[in-house]
Symmetry: C2
Subunit: 455 residues, 2 copies
């Protein structure tokens, strides 16, 4: 009996210690002295110690939230998002730090770099050969799964937000387009079904709809910027933006085929430390910058960079025993990506949910997000494939939907009375976050169930 | 013969391609259109595409410079520094991008975070047990090697810069204190002498003089800030700052012994991805912030965090097949640390070297930096140890000297006519960079030679 009692007691001691440490941290955080001290300019080139504290706390919130959701059998990203929402709700109780965190340029930049690294990773996981191999089913599934939610989302937004300009409605439609391939891939791997026909179709379609989603984003965002500058938007402009996006992707693919192999063969001759990860990230950032320079979102460039880099380019690094790029990027993204999701959660204003019409909008938006992707199953060519599973596997929106909503929050449209109206305001942002949370939460159980059923 | 001709031709093609790509990049960079486009606000939360381009180019410069120096048998860090100096010299030709890069807050923040990660890594490599084991020789060597260059540097600064306040002279003395353990360790490993008595003494002493150097920095920087606020500096204040620094280190060690094991045992129970690297970095940033909050440089906290974290704390992670913290940090530091060194190089104003007195100052500063560390050899206890090798092994200043100079560039003192005088101005900064370059360049050959001689 004694040892049995001893265990909980030692755990209680630990818990006490941890709680004390946490309490001290919170007190330090909230005390005006510490706040004043952390507001001081740092002795080192002006990096505010505030930023260090913020990153540390954001990482802790992200990992605790992520862990809780993983324990519940959910993706970690949801926990990070919910952790951010809870952290953000502290501002309702007058915690000034939360407002400072929301406004900090350095933390925001780190989050942005995190998203760029994330899309680079998604691009690295996809490859062009695979996309060709899965063929017509994936292309049809992806097209239907992009078109249906896009128009459904547009319609819902037009119904619920009649005062917003049409381009705002179109933008909300765009946030529903892209499936988050990561969540579905993880569920399929967990249940050992990654090698099935359904898995190939879903993953291929998810890659294609990423590309389509990014194209739609480029066109809609371009149109919104043109409208924001007061210029009327002709169909020719839309066509021009679409053409530019396609030209960029084709250009990136050509660079990938004819320039990248030489670059990385040259880099492989280098002996200094960290050449591989530096070259890969430099390449990613260059394409992200180039995308920005031609008027696209930097994430389009990052995704393209990942898409055109194949492991074959790093052969010589791997031969001499170095890690793969994806392995080297893992700790970098483990540090930066959660900052993005916690910040996205921070942006959610819980007060918006006190309004019934916002909750209604969120519910209907979520419903059409799920419904829209069920149209996918019509695109499956051939027999013996579990169509329901394909439709369900395309549901989760995750990071891409959030990234789109985040971009929308930085775009403006001319309003009715000449004022600038944000394309995605706090209420709409909250509704999109709810859509992302719900679509991501329902997928794992639904997909597991559908894959067990007979086709 | 044909195949022989073919090879150079294929190489020539590659070179041509690469040169064309580089030329295009440079043209894009310098052309006013691209510059205007890159100055645009990004569609994503305002992360300027300029930052992405800058990081990519800084990484490329760092890796090319580093590689060149590695090929010449020199440490990569020197190449990064020289690459930065050359990049900075472009501003003499009116390249506006360089000035923008110098002024960019996000890039500066990334460099600072890089230094914090670097000092964390240095701390991780050192450990308290080792410091106790090498005993008196290391302690004596370290003390002499800190005291002698400190006073020599102070004296030289007082002679060459008579107009500057005394605290400025003291600060320059402080930049000469800390040996860069990394460079010496690498040379000793390269020549297979890492297991010798000399190596233990040097590495132990280098760790101790890191701690002493950071203490001196804390005291001098504290004194300068007090003087900057107009307050007279009493001896009691100096004692107080010293006490605070020591209390911080002791506190960190206690946290390391009694809190950290529980924290990481808790973290080891977590199943989500990236827990280890996130917890380690969060811990490092918390201590860096805490150091800042009590008035010390954040790097002191980062070093302390590394010092108290031992691989034993990560046992459970390693058991289940995860990488070690130092391995996980490697790609993170490979991306961030070069940004710091290139930025340090960028700060060097080559025009300062047109003035003979600055070159003279740099030469004498370098001379006393080398001479000061030769006093070390007197501290070696016992016989059969190559005293000369110990003295030579302590010469390189590397990152710590640069970090100190960088901090000095952000500190101000009240000048003679009431104006604010930077503690380390452009000319002095250039002299310190020359000192760092030369001490780091002479060490590898000198140390190799001394270790081959008989004791």
């Amino acid at each position: 009996m004694k040892t049995r009692v001893a265990r909980p007691r030692s755990r209680a001691t630990k818990t006490l210690l941890l709680t004390t440490a946490a309490a001290l941290a919170v007190v330090a955080l909230l005390s005006p002295t510490a706040s004043a001290a952390s507001g001081d300019e740092s002795p080192v080139h002006g990096l505010a110690p505030f930023v260090l504290l913020s990153i540390a706390l954001v990482l802790l919130v992200a990992k605790l939230g992520g862990e809780l959701f993983v324990k519940l059998g959910q993706p970690a990203v949801l926990g990070e998002l919910v952790g951010g929402i809870l952290l953000g709700s502290l501002s309702l109780f007058g915690v000034a730090w939360v407002e400072e965190l929301r406004a900090d340029a350095v933390v925001a930049a780190l989050a942005e770099i995190g998203v760029i690294i994330l899309l680079f990773e998604v691009g690295l996981e996809s490859n062009l050969g695979e996309m060709k191999a899965v063929g017509w089913s994936s292309l049809l599934v992806a097209t239907l799964g992009v078109v249906a939610p896009f128009f459904l989302g547009w319609g819902v937004a037009a119904y619920f937000l009649p005062d917003e300009p049409t381009l705002g409605h179109v933008f909300i439609g765009a946030t529903l387009c892209a499936t988050s391939v990561g969540i579905t891939a993880r569920v399929l791997r967990d249940i050992g079904k990654l090698q099935t026909r359904e898995a190939s179709i879903i993953l291929g379609a998810a890659v294609i709809d990423d590309v389509m989603g990014l194209l739609i984003l480029a066109v809609v965002a371009g149109a919104i910027r043109a409208a924001g500058e007061g210029g009327a938007l002709a169909l020719i402009d839309v066509a021009l933006i679409a053409l530019k996006s396609i030209a960029f992707l084709v250009g990136a693919i050509l660079v990938g085929r004819y320039v990248v192999p030489h670059l990385f063969r040259g880099a492989a001759r280098m002996q200094s430390r960290g050449v591989l990860v530096s070259s890969a990230v430099a390449f990613c950032f260059l394409l992200a910058w180039a995308a920005g320079a031609v008027g696209l979102a930097p994430i389009v460039g990052a995704f393209a960079a990942g898409l055109v880099l194949d492991e074959i380019h790093f052969e010589e690094f791997v031969v001499r025993g170095e890690q793969r790029v994806s392995e080297l990027l893992a700790p970098v993204s483990a540090l930066l990506v959660p900052i993005f999701f916690v910040l996205m959660g921070l942006k959610v204003d819980l007060r918006a949910f006190a309004r019934v019409e916002i909750l209604g909008f969120a519910a209907v938006l979520t419903f059409v997000a799920i419904l829209g992707k069920q149209v996918c199953s019509l695109g499956v060519v051939g027999r013996g494939v579990k169509r329901l599973a394909v439709g369900l596997g395309m549901i989760p929106r995750g990071e891409v939907g959030l990234i789109f909503a985040g971009i929308g929050a930085t775009l403006w449209l001319p309003g009715a009375n000449g004022a600038r109206v944000p394309v995605v305001d706090a209420a709409t942002f909250g509704a999109v976050v709810i859509m992302v949370l719900v679509t991501t939460l329902v997928t794992p159980p639904a997909l597991k169930w559908a894959m067990k059923e007979k086709g």
